[in-house]
């Protein structure tokens, strides 16, 4: 018999019950909550007269539509101009109070994007099952946890039962062997993977990311990769636990301490796939072949190396794909055959749960230090992922570096990743973005998003068009 994958192990450890048709009742260790997908779930609980099964397993923070300007934030809740957003945020406060759930509210220094806060606080731990009403919950898999997004009905289900009804996924291994070239980052790895397998390539799978290039990444980098597993169609992405993982978790506020830490460490060190584990599919990439990536279309799979060109739809033989490309290019106002470097930019956005951690900000700051943003770049936002990331960045003087270069330094939140707050990309504007989705209208009605790494976004801000960061010296 072949060995077990990491996914198999975590799944088996959390199996409460299996029904005859294969549906399983899976125990959930952590449930993360934000303001957008939870109000209807809490309402459902109230209507049915139910209570959360285990309040201590739930952690909440508002992120999606809170403002990111200092002025608005200084006034707390009443500073949220949009009345509808304000109701959602205050509703979260009330629900958490009523149901005894720990909330890091908008005035708490720990507040931030839920996928940044979880790992940062040690709420996310290896071997756990973690869910959240948000598809980028896959991020937490970077710490060897089985984490995925759920819908609002499931949010209510988890609140009420601490379990999820699910069927097991298949196993996929994406192995990135060798070493990355300098200037190439975790974001480029994951964009290259999506370019290779497509946005539906991982549908029905849990993807484990492995290989030398993945193991060499920091936890922040692994989070960037797992974050975008969902853009490859996979609900969950995973990386095995190693020393890097343990070092990252030690001494985090909610991480186990003392004797319990030692017990946990022993348990966690087994969280890796067996050498003879059977995967349903294995995808291999050579790290050396990965260049800095830039998306040119309206799906993350529409991606090309920075030194490449936008592919010509006329050369595509599959009709559906060709139509897709044509639609995308029409929306983007671009043409096949154009060099990626010739795409002019109006905006830059550095932030989101993909790339708003301290490491990402350092990477971007290093590029803009001592330089000035190009005149054609009208708006360049840098939005830290949490209050603590912001504090750390300011302690390192990164805010000053950004401001000196003409970039705006903001308060933590999702911001222009999905433009639910006031941060919106204008119609027809091109934006170099470190976020994870370039769908039509994602960053604002008619906005045109190009997904890139923080270093590439920073370089684009300086030149006003895409450049290869490696040429900047």
């Amino acid at each position: 018999m072949s060995g077990l994958t990491l996914y198999d192990k975590i799944w088996a450890a959390h199996l409460v019950k299996q029904r005859e048709d294969g549906t399983c009742l899976i125990y959930i260790d952590r449930h993360l909550i934000h303001e957008v997908t939870s109000p209807q779930a809490f309402e459902g609980l109230r209507l049915a007269g139910r209570k959360p099964w285990r309040p201590d397993a739930n952690y909440a923070t508002p992120d999606h539509n809170i403002p990111t300007t200092r002025e608005e934030r200084r006034q707390g809740l009443s500073g949220i101009e949009d009345p509808v957003s304000r109701i959602q945020v205050s509703q979260l406060d009330e629900n958490c109070k009523e149901f005894n759930i720990l909330e890091m509210d908008m005035d708490d220094i720990r507040q931030g994007i839920v996928h940044v806060v979880g790992p940062e606080q040690g709420i996310t731990l290896p071997g756990m099952t973690i869910v959240c009403g948000d598809s980028h919950t896959s991020t937490h898999g970077a710490l060897g946890a089985l984490a995925h997004g759920i819908g609002t009905s499931e949010v209510e289900h988890v609140l009420a039962t601490q379990c999820l009804m699910a069927k097991k996924m298949k196993n996929m291994l994406v192995r990135v062997d060798g070493q990355l070239k300098t200037g190439v980052t975790a974001k480029d790895i994951v964009l290259a993977i999506i370019g290779k397998i497509g946005t539906a390539g991982g549908t029905g799978y849990t993807i484990e990311f492995g290989g030398e290039a993945i193991c060499s990444l920091s936890i922040e980098g692994r989070m960037t990769v797992c974050n975008m597993a969902i853009e490859a169609g996979a609900r969950a992405g995973l990386v095995a636990v190693d020393q890097t993982t343990l070092d990252y978790i030690k001494d985090r506020p909610f991480a186990p301490k003392g004797e319990m830490w030692e017990q946990a460490e022993i348990n966690w060190s087994q969280l890796r796939s067996d050498p003879d584990a059977a995967f349903d599919q294995v995808i291999e990439l050579a790290a050396e072949t990965i260049e800095p990536q830039v998306t040119w279309g309206t799906s993350p799979e529409m991606v090309a190396p920075v030194n490449g060109t936008i592919p010509d739809p006329a050369a595509e033989t599959d009709v559906t794909r060709r139509q897709n490309m044509e639609q995308a290019l029409k929306y983007m106002g671009l043409e096949g055959g154009t060099a990626i470097k010739n795409i002019a930019l109006d905006c830059v956005f550095i932030g989101s749960c993909t790339n708003s951690r301290i490491e990402d900000l350092r990477e971007a700051a290093q590029i803009v230090a001592g330089r000035r943003k190009a005149d054609n770049v009208e708006m360049a936002l840098v939005v830290p992922g949490s209050g603590l990331v912001k504090q750390q960045a300011e302690a390192e003087g990164l805010d000053k570096v950004f401001e000196a270069a003409g970039l705006e330094w903001r308060e933590p939140g999702c911001s222009m990743c999905l433009a639910m707050n006031a941060d919106q990309l204008g119609e027809g504007k091109h934006c170099a973005s470190t976020s994870n989705r370039n769908f039509e209208g994602r960053q604002g009605f008619g906005g045109r998003t190009h997904l890139v790494s923080p270093a590439m976004a920073a370089a684009a801000a300086i030149y006003g068009h895409f450049v290869d960061v490696r040429d900047m010296g």
Binding site: V16, A264, E440
Partner: protein
């Protein structure tokens, strides 16, 4: 109603400005908002006053009252927002036919009384041709028998998970079903507290 476009994402189905509602209903008027109307939709706006996009398929008179959505591959990709099935359901769709769906969306449909049916690409292609060729073309979906009937009487069989089918037909509440297993959950929890005590927080009972 045929929606001839691959990778329709959840932003396409219901743009994010409508996610700010704290209710579950009323999203139907903003289904496919960015394509259905010519202006930019706002929550709480009077949608009946807004200019319609005559080229968008939903606005064609022949598809008024449609309850079956014919779609292309990877339908519902993108975010986990349940507002997408809520909007489809609120508008009046009962079933979707497509070659493939995004996982989370597929799941969310069943939880909201919406039936996503997977059919082979060739069958979907054929259905697109037929509906485009024939005004008044309509299909009938029979969930208990798992068949789709075309106007000429010919049928297409489809698969559906038996448990989900049961829940859809009976209109069962998932939470109620799970709570029947409350004893199993408690005994699992007791064991788990010994195996992985760090997953429990002591300060909240």
């Amino acid at each position: 109603m045929p929606l001839d476009r691959a990778n329709v994402d959840t932003d396409f189905i219901i743009p994010k400005q409508f996610l700010k509602s704290i209710r579950r209903s009323g999203f139907g008027a903003n289904l496919f908002d960015e394509h259905r109307y010519l202006d930019v939709g706002e929550p709480d706006a009077d949608n009946s006053e807004r200019p319609l996009n005559p080229n968008f398929v939903l606005n064609q008179p022949r598809y008024r009252g449609a309850s079956i959505l014919l779609a292309r591959n990877n339908f519902g990709c993108g975010s986990s927002r349940e507002h997408a099935p809520w909007a489809l359901d609120d508008y009046g769709f009962r079933a979707i036919l497509a070659p493939s769906y995004a996982d989370i969306f597929f799941n969310n449909c069943f939880k909201n009384g919406l039936l996503p049916i997977v059919l082979e690409r060739a069958v979907i292609d054929e259905l697109f041709q037929q509906v485009n060729a024939e005004e008044g073309y309509s299909l009938e979906v029979d969930l208990p028998r798992q068949v789709i009937t075309r106007p000429d009487g010919s049928t297409i069989d489809f698969d559906v998970d038996s448990f989900r089918k049961h829940c859809l037909i009976e209109g069962l509440d998932d939470i109620g079903i799970t709570l029947q297993d409350a004893e199993d959950i408690r005994s699992f929890e007791k064991r788990w507290r010994r195996t992985a005590p760090w997953t429990f927080r002591a300060d909240v009972g």
